[in-house]
């Protein structure tokens, strides 16, 4: 049994007292980050990456810490969804649909515990799926040449643009902004500077961490200034917290189905957790039928999107680790983390550095269990933290972002660039232009161009080489379908709107 041997290797790394402590700290921080309104998983992981980097942790420890934060934030997101009706990030929107009505009906504690269990089930099954599927996919990925990789990157941009946004043109513009920024700096092949405008600071290119922190965290601060933090209303009071065994048993099949749906959605490059929780909720809603009472605060409506969301988050790690193509905004941020640590995701990661991959998988399993144990008894503490007012929280986030970026390079130029990205992020989000493709473009732009150029070197400039193998053709078809199909499907798959009081 390969998997068991590998898993034993992983646990031998992840179960040391030090990494275990990091996992607990990460889970705790992550839950807080996820629970605070306005600080979703992407924001939280983004502002912590520069700090982790400067702390000088080794690759495995940093990875354990940040994945615990990632999983913790996914857990924490549901607290503000259920109690305040404010989704911490987009996938959590589905949880508000039934979670908030359930909390208003005086069952806030039940909803929180039930969603915690559903998160656990989803994340656990997804991690098991990751263990089984990732090594297989890694083997397939060895067949990928530059032409296939080029098509794969294209597929990621197309599905991300097609499914996760409302307007294809805007998603395409966002991708181009990112790709265009990635081109700035010294060209790898010729060694000549490109598009720097003669600015010496730009010779190294634009650091993706600067862009991520600017687009996510600084832009968020501008949104809070615009709304004057009014949306941080105190919602439903939390009474006694008990474990609702009856609801957990009644929703077990819902959780299992939703985990399956979420995992599949998570694997699709670019689709990610939003689609996972959406599909999980919608499929359970149609199974339950009109009598199921979805939208009025039923336990199944809480369990389904949470299981789907967390399972998709795990599924999104499959393409990220094996192919280097992230499946969602947060996995894009995790990819940034890996690249900062000098780990190149891809099929070779599984053979060259098994300790990283299996250490990561083992720490995901550990983080999951820690989170479940931590969340049920400590939910009241996390709810207390929710009442940190926006006028303390957001300046704090800004300062942490500045210190993080400043400690990376010690240059005021990166800070200015970060503020610039914050302004850009504000306007893009105002205009309903998704910002995740920008990040993905900056992260993958260099690789995408390399793949194209290597393919052309191999074929001596013959463009048909890009469509010469069955895998490449399949990826091109999937890319075009992923971009075009949602235009027609949008009529039928309308996203439910958030409940309003």
């Amino acid at each position: 049994m390969d998997i068991l041997a590998n898993l034993a290797l992983g646990f031998s790394i992840a179960l040391s007292p030090y990494t275990l402590m990091l996992a607990v700290v990460g889970c705790f921080l992550g839950t807080i980050i996820g629970a605070l309104p306005g600080l979703g998983p992407s924001n939280g992981v983004a502002i912590l990456i520069p700090l982790t980097f400067t702390l000088g942790l080794d690759a495995t420890s940093a990875l354990v810490l940040m994945t615990s934060v990632y999983y913790g934030a996914m857990y924490g997101g549901r607290i503000s969804s259920i109690l305040l009706n404010i989704p911490g990030d987009e996938p959590a929107l589905m949880t508000t649909l039934d979670g908030y009505p359930m909390a208003k009906a005086g069952r806030a504690g039940d909803a929180l515990v039930l969603s915690g269990v559903a998160s656990f089930v989803g994340a656990f099954l997804a991690t098991v799926g990751l263990m089984l599927l990732a090594p297989m996919l890694a083997r397939v990925a060895f067949l990928f040449g530059p032409a296939e990789y080029f098509a794969l990157y294209l597929l990621a941009f197309c599905t991300l643009g097609g499914m996760a946004s409302n307007n294809q043109a805007k998603a395409a513009i966002a991708s181009c902004i990112g790709l265009g920024i990635a081109m700035v700096g010294v060209d790898n092949n010729s060694g000549m500077p490109r598009l720097t405008g003669g600015n010496l600071h730009l010779m190294d290119g634009v650091d993706f961490l600067v862009a991520i922190v600017g687009l996510f965290a600084i832009a968020e601060v501008f949104f809070f200034i615009e709304s004057h933090g009014k949306e941080t209303s105190i919602g439903v009071k939390l009474e006694k917290v008990t474990i609702p065994w009856k609801d957990i048993m009644a929703t077990k099949w819902t959780m299992l189905r939703a985990s399956g749906v979420g995992f599949v959605a998570g694997i699709l490059p670019g689709a990610g957790a939003s689609l996972g929780s959406f599909l999980a909720y919608m499929s359970e809603k149609s199974i339950a039928g009109p009598k199921g009472g979805f939208g009025t605060g039923v336990p199944k409506g809480v369990a389904a999107p949470e299981a789907g969301n967390n399972s998709a988050a795990g599924g999104a790690l499959v393409p990220m680790l094996t192919l280097g193509v992230p499946g969602s905004g947060t996995t894009a941020v995790l990819l940034a983390l890996l690249m900062t640590l000098n780990i190149t995701p891809g099929p070779t990661l599984f053979t060259d550095r098994p300790e990283v991959v299996w250490g990561l998988i083992a720490s995901l399993l550990i983080a999951n269990i820690v989170l479940l144990l931590m969340n049920v008894p400590m939910v009241k503490i996390f709810v207390k933290i929710l009442s940190v007012p926006a006028w303390v929280l957001l300046p704090g986030v800004t300062m942490i972002s500045f210190v993080g970026i400043y400690s990376l390079s010690g240059s005021y130029f990166d800070l200015l660039l970060m503020v610039g990205f914050g302004v850009l992020g504000y306007f893009l989000r105002k205009l309903d232009v998704p910002t995740v493709p920008v990040i993905l473009g900056i992260l993958l732009g260099g690789h995408m161009e390399d793949a194209l150029r290597r393919a052309m070197v191999l074929s001596d400039g013959d463009a048909t080489f890009l469509f010469s193998t069955p895998i490449a053709i399949g990826l091109w078809i999937a890319a075009i379908a992923g971009f075009v199909a949602p235009m027609f499907l949008r009529k039928f798959l309308k996203k439910p709107q958030a409940v309003t009081d």
Partner: protein
Amino acid sequence: MASDRIFGLVVLMGALAYMASATQIQTSFLADPVGPKAFPMLVGAVAAISALVLIFKPDPDPNWPVLRTFGSLGIAVIVLICYAYALKPLGFIIPTAITAAILSYQISPRPVPAIAAGAGLSVGLFVLFKFALGLGLIAFPHGWGG
């Protein structure tokens, strides 16, 4: 409608300027068939086409804030830019306290809590970063009490 058209126009201009500067990229003697120009040109072209689509098929306008809010956003940006320049020469504590207080005041306009938040965040974060995480921050400008 108008916002998307303006945005499309801005992107179109940007894309054309980007392509124009891409034509100026120097190629070296070690040329591969594609060269360093082709991919930026391709990206610029896709952006230009998408911008045209947006100009002809705009979405409804978003809810823009009132002019006053834009004013305070502008102030926030200026404060952050000053902060970026001040962080190195003036040390961590003073610029951070001022910036955090201004941002806090802009989110919730009450002077006393804002000043308290600024001071508290600045000292608290300094202690956290310097002593708990071991980052090399400077508290005050050089020459202030060593």
